[in-house]
Symmetry: C2
Subunit: 359 residues, 2 copies
């Protein structure tokens, strides 16, 4: 089977995803009988390209001028036209929109519209953007079910470390009652540094130099990134319908240095902990600085490491820990979601033709 991909967003993650696809091409063909072809790319500033016969992302990546379309379409209109032009692939369940635009922390747009439009066009959707799951998981999951297509977002939390996959594929008969985790690398790195006497600014600069923190680090240090991840996990694991704004939120400031050092001196650790739990019929979610006992697994999560501890009914607590991170991890998240789709496609015929195909 040939899987047709439409890339919406073509930054570093998408580019690494493309090279990773090439590196794992043999695995895809041998283990899944699947060949992958890129049929469309929409970038923010470097134009758009589309051809049902396939496009060359390598050539596109090096070109600086807009291609194919002189007046670029909006990204939503691009997806609408691309899925319409690929309707045969869409009908056969082998069209996938790979969404890697950046997070908008106010409303999660236009990523949510990208997902909706792709599903309406009969495509599966894979995204590394936290927005759709953090702001609109319930509606988008329902839209995906109705369309008989997948909406997957493994890369939204802990890069490629399989947290959503873990729950969906391996804990199917387990109920998750809550979770606690350290899910933002920049703030964890800053806290670890400040404990040891490094200044807030110096630790932040180090993370920016390594490409982990953004030039505008406010999403990280203000706790918004962690809040978006917390909302996404609460929505998926606990069936909540919250947004990042509903997450009680605290960030990391230079003022936390003294507290981090005092905690450390007494054998404890100051950590920015993301957590959520059911409280009656509601879900309470928060991101807060907490002083943890040394025996707490999260206390030992250092520097760029991330971890999530799931509290379950049958298996007590299960922790999954990410020891390293980076571009390849996030790119792998997209690949792993793609493989989930390919495995599904090879196992069963697609459901009835998706609604809204006539867009």
């Amino acid at each position: 089977v040939t899987i047709d991909l439409v890339l919406v967003g073509f930054g570093n993650v998408a580019k690494r995803f493309v090279t990773l696809l090439a590196e794992r091409d043999a695995t895809l063909r041998r283990d899944y009988g699947a060949a992958v072809r890129i049929v469309g790319i929409a970038t923010k500033r470097h134009g758009q390209i589309f051809s049902t016969r396939g496009v060359d992302p390598g050539a596109f990546a090096t070109a600086s001028a807009p291609r194919e379309t002189n007046r670029p379409l909006t990204s939503v209109e691009f997806i609408r036209r691309a899925t319409r032009a690929s309707r045969a692939a869409a009908r056969q369940g082998r069209l996938v929109v790979v969404e890697t635009t950046t997070l908008d922390i106010r409303r999660g747009e236009p990523a949510i519209a990208h997902v909706r439009t792709a599903l309406a066009g009969g495509a599966h959707v894979v995204t590394a953007n936290k927005g759709p799951a953090a702001f609109a998981h319930r509606a988008l999951a329902r839209a995906a079910t109705q369309a008989g297509r997948r909406f997957l977002f493994e890369g939204a939390v802990m890069d490629g470390i399989p947290i959503f996959n873990l729950v969906r594929e391996t804990l199917t008969a387990v109920n998750v009652a809550g979770f606690r985790g350290i899910v933002n690398s920049t703030t964890n790195f800053i806290l670890t540094g400040m404990e040891q006497g490094q200044s807030f600014e110096s630790a932040l600069l180090e993370m920016q130099a390594r490409g982990i923190a953004e030039a505008d680090p406010s999403l990280d240090v203000d706790g918004w990134d962690a809040a978006a991840k917390t909302a996404a996990m609460a929505n998926v694991f606990l069936g909540a319908a919250i947004t990042p704004q509903d997450v009680q939120r605290e960030g990391v400031t230079p003022a936390a240095a003294a507290r981090a050092q005092t905690a450390r001196a007494s054998g404890r650790r100051l950590k920015l902990v993301a957590s959520a739990a059911r409280e009656g019929r509601r879900v309470r979610a928060r991101v807060a600085l907490e002083e943890l006992e040394a025996s707490d697994l999260l206390a030992g999560v250092e520097g760029q490491q991330n971890a999530v501890i799931l509290r379950t009914d049958l298996l007590d607590e299960i922790a999954i820990v990410q020891q390293g991170g980076g571009l390849t991890h996030t790119a792998y998240a997209l690949l792993s979601d793609l493989l989930t789709i390919v495995r599904g496609a090879s196992r069963r015929p697609p459901r009835a033709a998706p609604r809204g195909r006539s867009l």
Copy 2:
């Protein structure tokens, strides 16, 4: 679909599995459209029972005399006859042999024969016994593929914590280069206790009282249990074909107390670490006492906790940590393997889908 189960072994794990099935009956029916029926039970000392119309494990559990068969069959012969009598269910891919006999550390028998016989009879096999994967994974996996049936053993390591599932279902495009872990609760509990001045004997008695350690604890304290788990993981994750005898092995003795205390005094921890890695074309596996730096995730694995750290090519290191254990965990492992089969059965015809068939 109705799944017919043949239980081979009917100790505490199997009994908890049966009650867990009842507890999750609604989930099975609603989420999977599956009803589960027990058609046969073979015990070691309390006889055997079989009926294609279903048997009552509750009644059987309370009866002490052998039932149905006055002269019990061998367990292998029981499986042969049971699969033959259930051949319609077997042909339809809805017959599952649930194997929970105890580990034989010399050869892994008769569990291996149980698996072979079940697969040959067209049944899927689920086992909590480490033996088959530790001694004969390659041959049994091949037999399963040839039969178009599953051979699953999530409970062999870390009870129900999904370590085999994690790799199989969520790390499909990742190569595992090696692993390190703490996989035996009894020895880890003893080491933690001895660090704090508890005697070896007292810690061991405590584990026996809690039902974690066996009356004959030699498999645990001599490192054999950990070696069997190491062999199973090496065989599955690294494609090895080793047995527990090929694992370089060390156990925990009262003499380790002083070393554990000295390590602790200097901020380090003495742990019984199971590990394996590829070395050229061979796989080197061992179970050994190691002094770990405090920053090592395994150093913080206390008491009955277990953990495995996978070293991968794309995602660096991923750790999965079990914070608690017990009978329900192991019973869940069987249930989770059963659900893997049910999901497969509902997605595709029991025989491998023909290649190249359109989506």
